[in-house]
Subunit: 336 residues, 2 copies
DNA sequence: TTGAAAGCGTTACCAT
DNA sequence: ATGGTAACGCTTTCAA
């Protein structure tokens, strides 16, 4: 059996409560006593039992992170959120518990009701997310990465996807393009009401409308065949297309491959701007003008918000990180 | 304050110990009592306090997963291990705690000594991994994903990387290739002694030697420039190269891009076989013969081993999954 | 079949 | 500045 606080107390010739206070610093301790206690702790290798602490304090120093709903949309992008949260957690000397979202509601309820975590971060929020009612009802802090449809009092952080979409259109329009197409996510993501997919599309289409451009767009299945179909589809909608906006990490390369096959060179025949192009693609020889998604930073901010809530300090209900475009020369003025 | 076992006991008109036994099933309960207790549990919404349980039982139903040492080698591949473990954990109704390996030793010691986890799974084992002594000394079950240099009694699961490397050479040799090159990982991975990088290279080079072929290989930095340098380097070593083996998820696409730039078409001018080509690349139009790494399965097996150890059932010290080649036509007999 | 009570390791309150 | 003790929520003996 492991060494407990009474072992330390005995070894140092003090009361257990004294040891406890040396550790927590919650009351004055004489220099001499502190020295002896710390020595005993060191020699015995004492570490307080987390379960025992959690039963007395009202906290565990653990937070839960709920992964995206489906893993049909994997990708390194999503892992970057996790790493952002994890990184911040480590800095705060907190631990991270990973939950799958398959049975999101049940899993969250479980860890919360059983007092395993101090708070919950939920990724990939859908417009009408089934987990929102639960999060409001439970009495623990929570932070959403993503924005629900209805403005609730739930604290959330997000990337301004609508602005990102609009920014793409603005940039291409400024360059002189009047025939712009949008290649978005796969249909299931729209069907599920995933916030970032819908908001980006709205941002793009609204900006197109504002400039009096036709709202040319299509969903893309992340397969070679899907990419081919999408390109065929969008060229049918507007054969005079001079620019393409792509936001689909999984289909991105397939689309470029297909365009190459069709003999459309970038940016000569076609200007291309991407959103959220992932690191691997980004490091390819063939660079693309891109609006990066600050996933790591979002994860980090989400965690900071959560610790803020746990510490009962007021937090902004909504935090929106703004997009910026990395110009890499894949978008030029149109030739004609 | 949350509802506790005494609340349930009072509500059902029984003793707390009875409620406990209804939950654990560790002693006979009359049908009538069980009914009443279960009703009370349901109406009150009682869930046992995890911390309180962990202090009496000797377990938490949580396992720790230690991520790879550095995140300089990210990639979706690694996330697949995590998902495999996570998936298995959920099936066993266990929870997963994520640890970064930056300060691996300290982090592991912390969660173990503080009794936060029942066991530990460690990813990306190096030949002389600094975490091994700790794992032997602590008194908790642990499982390695990867194989250390010295055969210890530490249970580990791994992919047979050496066999995978050899298989590539065999296949190309059978096709008639006599000038084969190996493009491996980045130099830092070799320097750190990361098992899979070293073992794959050995598998390749040994097989080359066995067939009397020159041991042509080079490391590849995962950047466009690095890929270009590597190709230049390996062609300098053997200008008559007819086949290439690539195991570097991050550099893979850059290498293909560079080859395309150089006008070397696959498989006409050059046969290519990859190891561990990731999903994104795999779904490209341009398919490549590949030896997949069963990451998800490895994660799953690691978890099963760990639960076996926790249940004190004997487990095989070493488990090695064997490679198989997915032929996709990127490797043909040489023209000359 | 059930209840009472001790005890797990820690913290907080009440004393001194 | 320090010690004693109750209490947290649960499991497990020991009795009945």
């Amino acid at each position: 059996m492991a060494v407990s606080i009474v072992d330390v107390a005995r070894h140092a010739g003090v009361a257990p409560s004294t040891v406890s206070h040396v550790l927590s610093g919650k009351r004055p301790i004489s220099a001499e006593t502190r020295r002896r206690v710390e020595a005993s702790i060191a020699t015995l290798g004492f570490r307080p039992h987390a379960g025992a602490q959690s039963i007395r304090r009202q906290s565990t120093n653990v937070v839960a992170l709920v992964l995206p709903m489906r893993t049909d949309s994997p990708g390194w992008q999503q892992m970057r959120f996790v790493l952002g949260v994890l990184d911040a957690a480590r800095e705060h000397e907190m631990n991270l518990m990973l939950l799958t979202a398959e049975d999101g509601v049940a899993a969250i309820r479980d860890v919360v009701d059983r007092a395993m975590v101090d708070g919950v971060i939920v990724m990939e929020i859908e417009l009408d997310d089934s987990r929102l009612p639960l999060l409001q009802e439970i009495n623990r802090p929570s932070v959403l990465i993503g924005t629900p449809r209805e403005p609730t009092d739930l604290v959330h952080v997000d990337f301004n996807f609508a602005a990102a979409g609009a920014l793409c259109v603005e940039h291409l329009h400024d360059l002189g393009h009047r025939h712009i197409g949008y290649l978005g996510h796969s249909q299931p993501l729209y069907d599920r009401g995933v916030g970032y997919a819908l908001r980006t599309r709205s941002g793009v289409l609204d900006a197109m409308a504002e400039h009096g451009l036709p709202q040319t767009w299509t969903a893309v299945e992340p397969t070679p065949a899907g990419a081919a179909r999408a390109i065929e589809d969008i060229l049918a909608q507007d054969p005079a297309l001079t620019a393409l906006i792509i936001y689909n990490e999984l289909a991105f390369l397939q689309v470029l491959d297909r365009l190459a096959q069709l003999g459309r060179s970038i940016p000569r025949d076609l200007s291309v701007i991407t959103i959220g192009q992932d690191d691997q693609a980004a490091s390819r020889a063939q660079q693309t003008s891109n609006i990066p998604i600050p996933a790591t930073q979002l994860g980090r901010v989400a965690f900071e918000r959560l610790t803020g809530l746990i510490a009962k300090s007021d937090q902004p209900v909504s935090t929106l990180l703004e997009p910026h475009l990395d110009r890499q020369g894949s978008a030029n003025p149109p030739l004609d």
